[in-house]
């Protein structure tokens, strides 16, 4: 397919435009999805922490700790929640879900109940931890850790889908524009051929039908063709005489 250099540049322009759209919308999406998902996970985890805290009071005060463990084991099965631990008011760990044990970072770290804490646990990864007091802190507190990579994975999936869609639109756009460009370039190519013919002072008989077509067009290409023909006759006295004879006969 023949494409003029002018339109090749247009194609590059389209490509860069799509690239710009893809990158800019991805950046905006990453930011908004990250913000939205993180806040949603935090919100849900806080609700779960509160639910466990409310349900734990009776268990801690009246029942065996295996019931407490059974309770948190059910919640840790929820997607996105990586660990749960419960400490009492004396800062003793009453139940937890860590294997092979409670990480040093948590054992030695400062306990900040009610705040969102970011943790990097050796061998486990990065986590966002939320917490809730049990009986206003008089019994202890519940802490829930969410895996940050889970949020990152969700973002990757969302962005991946978006880039996939943009790529499809891009390729459809490229093929469509190639077709349109070649369609639009056809009369210009004919005009170019006609101009070359005139410049070489060749006889028009060889391409009489195409010359006829281009000279009878009503668009800019037709005007330019007739203008080229006029300049050609002005610069050639024989053609000018021929054209005058033709007019007189008419």
């Amino acid at each position: 397919m023949k494409i003029t250099r002018l339109f090749q540049r247009t194609m590059f322009g389209i490509f860069f435009l799509f690239l710009l759209i893809g990158v800019s919308t991805s950046v905006v999406s990453i930011y908004s999805v990250d913000l939205h998902l993180t806040s949603e996970y935090e919100e849900n985890s806080r609700d779960i922490a509160k639910t466990i805290a409310d349900a734990s009071v009776d268990i801690i005060l009246n029942r065996d700790l295996s019931s407490l463990q059974s309770l948190i084991d059910q919640f840790v099965e929820i997607q996105g929640i990586s660990y749960i631990y419960i400490v009492n008011d004396a800062d003793e760990y009453l139940a937890h879900t860590f294997v092979p044990g409670i990480p040093e970072e948590i054992l030695e770290g400062e306990r900040r109940v009610g705040e969102t804490v970011t943790r990097n646990l050796a061998g486990m990864g990065d986590f966002v931890e939320v917490s809730s007091y049990i009986l206003a802190g008089h019994v202890g507190s519940v802490h829930i850790g969410m895996d940050v990579s889970h949020v990152a994975l969700a973002i990757q999936q969302a962005i991946g889908n978006q880039i996939y869609l943009i790529a499809i639109i891009f390729f459809v756009g490229i093929f469509a524009s190639i077709w349109f460009v070649s369609f639009a370039a056809k009369p210009i190519n004919s005009l170019l051929d006609y101009a070359v013919t005139l410049a070489k002072s060749e006889k028009a008989e060889e391409s009489e039908s195409s010359t006829e077509r281009i000279l009878t067009r009503n668009d800019e290409v037709g005007h330019l063709a007739r203008l080229f023909q006029y300049f050609s006759t002005v610069s050639d006295p024989d053609k000018l005489q021929n054209n005058s004879n033709v007019k007189e006969n008419d």
């Binding site: 029942r63 065996d64 294997v99």
Partner: protein, 436 residues
């Protein structure tokens, strides 16, 4: 023709469904002990003219199958004997079996099916704390139907204390009693720095809480802890757990786990230089634990097994002077029960005798006694009264059994065993064996 009400229609459909249900005959096994499925239509009560059906959900498959299978084999050896003698008030005792693989969710689903679809008379012989702990609310949900859970293979507290104690009866001593006994003995011989290695679930937490409470009596705390995930195989690497515990330099480690994981821990502990007594609770399944080590190390396994001390809730199966032990040995040999064919995995080799199957045998023996006392027209509503009628009952193991509304656990005795000549034998001299 009288119109059927919707309820009558539903009952008719259910009865018809039960009648054509593909139950397989109890006596299908050539040994006469095959046991698992009732025949004939069931009523809502789980009792027919010829059968009493008990529902069992346990681990017949998976890493803890050794416990479920051995407990079942012990129970079946006694029920087969009872059935051969004419059953209880003319009714054979049959078991409707379901596999939960020692996982809580299947255990809950199985229990609902046993209650709603299978319409068993009572639940019997469950295995595990994480499973039973989740099943208890199911019993609460169906409390209007008076379902009871008999003799689960767990020493955890939830079925021993409110609000779920009224739905279960236990035969064995609790983990609290087992861990307290281990702590008492370790402290008595100067091993005061006690750490725990436990399964990260309700079972592990139950034992952990027992050790913690026992140490509190001595004004002491756990010096360290390490956990593993339920379902670990013997091939699991426990070096991370060993390293954790080595850091706190314990005098003894109490394990609250299953046999595969505890055997893996014992192996890695000794290999990692943590050479201290490693205690295991009865739930571990002592023979299966030892088998894992002997299968890998053969005669060299003594290097690992010499540190083992396992608490048991039944006497040694070698103590044939006790009438029930002798009867157990006889019936296990006579019936030699096979694992349930519908769940059989051909790589499992049953034990001729084991603490777990002995416990299953004693569970079945006491269950039979309860069914006898329930009379010729047993009903779930009156079953509890039959249990409470058991007062100072001689089960044939040297310890009397009695129940009451305040006492829903039959036995309290804890026994301690060590490995000698590739088998578990009674430990009498803690000082001589494990003194620092």
């Amino acid at each position: 023709m009288a119109k059927l009400t919707r309820r009558q229609l539903a009952q008719s459909v259910l009865a018809a469904g039960a009648a054509i249900a593909p139950w397989r005959a109890f006596a299908a096994n050539p040994t006469g002990q095959a046991s698992t499925v009732p025949s004939g239509p069931l009523t809502d009560s789980g009792v027919t003219d010829s059968e009493i059906v008990l529902g069992v959900s346990t681990a017949f498959k998976g890493p803890s199958r050794g416990l479920g299978i051995e407990l079942y084999r012990g129970a079946v050896s006694y029920f087969a004997h009872v059935n051969d003698q004419g059953g209880v008030h003319g009714r054979r005792i049959v078991l409707k079996l379901r596999n939960d693989g020692y996982q809580p969710v299947p255990a809950v689903e199985n229990s609902v099916k046993l209650i709603v679809d299978d319409k068993v008379f009572a639940l019997f012989g469950y295995v595990g704390t994480p499973t039973v702990t989740r099943v208890l609310p199911v019993l609460k949900k169906f409390q209007d139907r008076d379902f009871l859970l008999f003799f689960p293979f767990t020493g955890a507290q939830p079925q021993r204390q409110p609000p779920y104690d009224e739905f279960a009866f236990n035969l064995r001593a609790s983990y609290k009693q087992e861990t307290a006994g281990l702590v008492d003995n370790f402290i008595a011989i100067g091993r005061e720095r006690i750490a725990v290695f436990y399964q990260a679930d309700a079972y592990g937490r139950s034992g952990w809480a027992g050790v913690r409470a026992a140490l509190k009596e001595y004004d002491k705390k756990l010096v360290g802890e390490a956990t593993y995930r339920r379902g670990e195989q013997y091939t699991a690497v426990m070096r991370a757990q060993v390293e954790r515990l080595k850091k706190v330099n314990p005098d003894a480690v109490i394990c609250i786990g299953s046999y595969a994981a505890c055997a893996a821990f014992a192996r890695d502990a000794v290999d990692g230089g943590l050479e201290v007594p490693i205690a295991n609770l009865s739930f571990v399944g002592s023979e299966n634990l030892l088998k894992n080590l002997t299968d890998e190390f053969g005669t060299e396994s003594e290097r690992y097994s010499r540190w083992l001390v396992n608490s048991q809730v039944v006497p040694s199966y070698e103590d044939l002077a006790m009438s029930s032990i002798s009867e157990y040995a006889d019936l296990m040999q006579r019936y030699d029960p096979t694992p349930p064919p519908e769940f059989e995995e051909h790589d499992y080799v049953p034990f001729a005798k084991s603490f777990t199957s002995l416990e299953g045998f004693l569970n079945a023996k006491l269950m039979t006694e309860i069914l006898k006392r329930a009379g010729p027209s047993p009903s779930r509503a009156l079953l509890e009264d039959a249990v409470f009628s058991i007062q100072n009952h001689d089960l044939g193991i040297g310890e009397m059994v009695h129940f009451s509304p305040e006492r829903r656990q039959g036995l309290d005795q804890v026994y301690y065993t060590i490995v000698d000549n590739n088998r578990f034998v009674g430990l009498t001299d803690w000082e001589g064996k494990f003194a620092t």
